[in-house]
């Protein structure tokens, strides 16, 4: 008697046929919404790249890539700007990489956790969020005027060092944090000195992360214009002799993005799009290079 009553009073979850009502309206709506968002973002990306490629494609020619702009000869070329871009990348990274890695090793391996480390980490975080024009302002006033370097590639590179240093430090630090403590203990347990252990175990293990940081930094340099406009200058000439090339470090030099900005402001949109194509290709190459190198240097996947 009692059991029957219990069974009767239990609410029944009615399911009916297992094939009917498979698609609920809310599911369908959510499905459409999600796919639409995804499609929109992909289309946007493809659209922008496609638009730039179509607009700029016709500008790309051998003389555009290897010549310089000259009113006298009526030529348009960006070879000088390509060289300046490479110059600034190399110079900046030559300074920023060792300092950045050194700072990260100090913060992660030597400094005792405490207020000072927290403060430095906080500072690097803030530094990486500062608008680049502020670095440009500082670089122009400090390196350009106070140190009398004026507009030159070195001024630009020093300014960019300040800008990308947090990126290198943070990436190296994150990479060092992922190195298991057991490696440190294993090495110390063999009677290794600390610096030897860092050099032979920690840095090789952290290499993929370090490379990622360096290449992200290069990516930022390639895309930077605000911090360079008033520090590195805008000259687009191509040095011919070795001496000219070396002197270039103290001479004005505009990168591709600077030239893009100048072309836009003069209304030369075809040139601007031509440079945009080159920049896109460079960014794409850098991305591929990152993946390739990070895998190449990953000690954990090596045979």
């Amino acid at each position: 008697m009692t059991t029957e009553a219990v069974v009767k009073s239990r609410p029944v979850v009615s399911a009916g046929s297992i094939t009917k009502g498979r698609r609920r309206p809310t599911d369908v709506l959510a499905y459409i919404g999600i796919y639409a968002s995804a499609a929109f973002s992909v289309l946007l990306l493809v659209g922008i790249i496609g638009y730039v490629l179509v607009k700029g494609y016709s500008m790309i020619s051998w003389s555009f890539l290897t010549g310089v702009t000259s009113v006298l000869n009526d030529t348009v070329g960006i070879a000088g700007n390509i060289l300046n871009t490479l110059y600034i990348i190399v110079l900046t990274m030559l300074i920023a990489t060792p300092i950045g890695i050194g700072a990260a090793v100090y913060l992660n391996e030597y400094a005792k956790p405490g207020k000072l480390v927290t403060a430095i980490e906080f500072a690097t975080q803030i530094l990486s969020g500062i608008p680049s024009i502020i670095f440009g302002l500082f670089g122009m006033i400090f390196f350009g005027q106070t140190l009398h370097l004026s507009y030159c590639i070195l001024t630009g590179a020093l300014t960019l060092v300040l800008m990308v240093l947090p990126l290198v430090i943070r990436n190296t630090q994150e990479a060092l944090k992922t190195v298991p403590d057991s490696y440190r203990q294993g090495a110390i347990g063999l009677g290794t000195g600390k610096w030897y252990m860092i050099r032979t175990i920690l840095l090789p293990s952290a290499m993929p992360g370090i490379i990622t940081g360096v290449i992200l930094a290069i990516g930022r340099i390639v895309g930077e214009s605000a911090a360079l406009l008033f520090t590195a200058g805008s000259d687009g000439m191509l040095p011919i002799t070795v001496k000219q090339f070396l002197d270039k470090i103290f001479a004005s030099g505009g990168t591709l993005t600077i030239q893009l900005y100048l072309s836009m402001s003069k209304g030369q949109y075809d040139v601007a799009f031509g440079i945009a194509v080159i920049l896109l290709v460079i960014v794409l190459l850098i991305n591929m290079l990152t993946k390739l190198l990070a895998r190449r240097f990953d000690v954990h996947t090596r045979e």
């Binding site: 005792k112 298991p180 057991s182 490696y183 440190r184 203990q185 294993g186 090495a187 110390i188 347990g189 063999l190 009677g191 290794t192 000195g193 030897y196 032979t200 175990i201 090789p204 293990s205 000690v299 954990h300 090596r302 045979e303």
Partner: protein, 253 residues
Amino acid sequence: MEKKTKIKVRDLHLYYGENHALKGVNMDIKDNSVTAFIGPSGCGKSTFLKTLNRMNDLVDNVRIEGNVYLDGEDIYDENVDTTVLRKKIGMVFQQPNPFPMSIYDNIAYGPRVHGIKDKEKLDQIVEESLRGAAIFDEVKDRLKKSALGLSGGQQQRICIARALAVQPEVLLMDEPTSALDPISTAKVEELMEDLKKKYTVVVVTHNMQQAVRVSDDTAFFLVGEMVEFGDTKTVFSYPKDKRTEDYITGRFG
């Protein structure tokens, strides 16, 4: 014949901040023997093991009182070079921790640290160490391959070989088989028998059968105190302390 004392510990106290983790340990560890530390988790046996080659130096907030003598020399003397100390007293950890490099480079790591560059000498040390850790035959064809590709049991023997390569006098093993399967465990235990012919072996273990099987002397730890220490057979057959008896008969722990 009485074996000579290799490590002598006198009234050793260790504090983690406020926590009194080791309470006055005294012990004589004999040369060419296996000494086992047993006890429940958190009793201080691993902590004590690490005081023997100063691995606790790496931990913040640790304070140590008392003396540890290696062949009569105080290892906590301020003039001690810890790199030399750790060369003499090697260590094998609970989790196998080969470095992310080739098997060869793993074994050669220690000798290179201590200045051996000669290729022929290194080759010889690598082979001898791998033989010493009973793994040479298993890896001799893949010395240039990453040590991370080996099984857990093989990795642990690589770590033992790596420790042997610097020619230590004492080998500290912190639960070396707890992460291994029974077959690998048997191999490592067999190896300990072998190792004590040349080295002084100190092993922390959770496994009482293992202590009985491999050790000559056994120390029983409980909440930071060394309760009993003596010949393994005696400790397990006729424990003097009631707490030791309770532990080895499985009443707790």
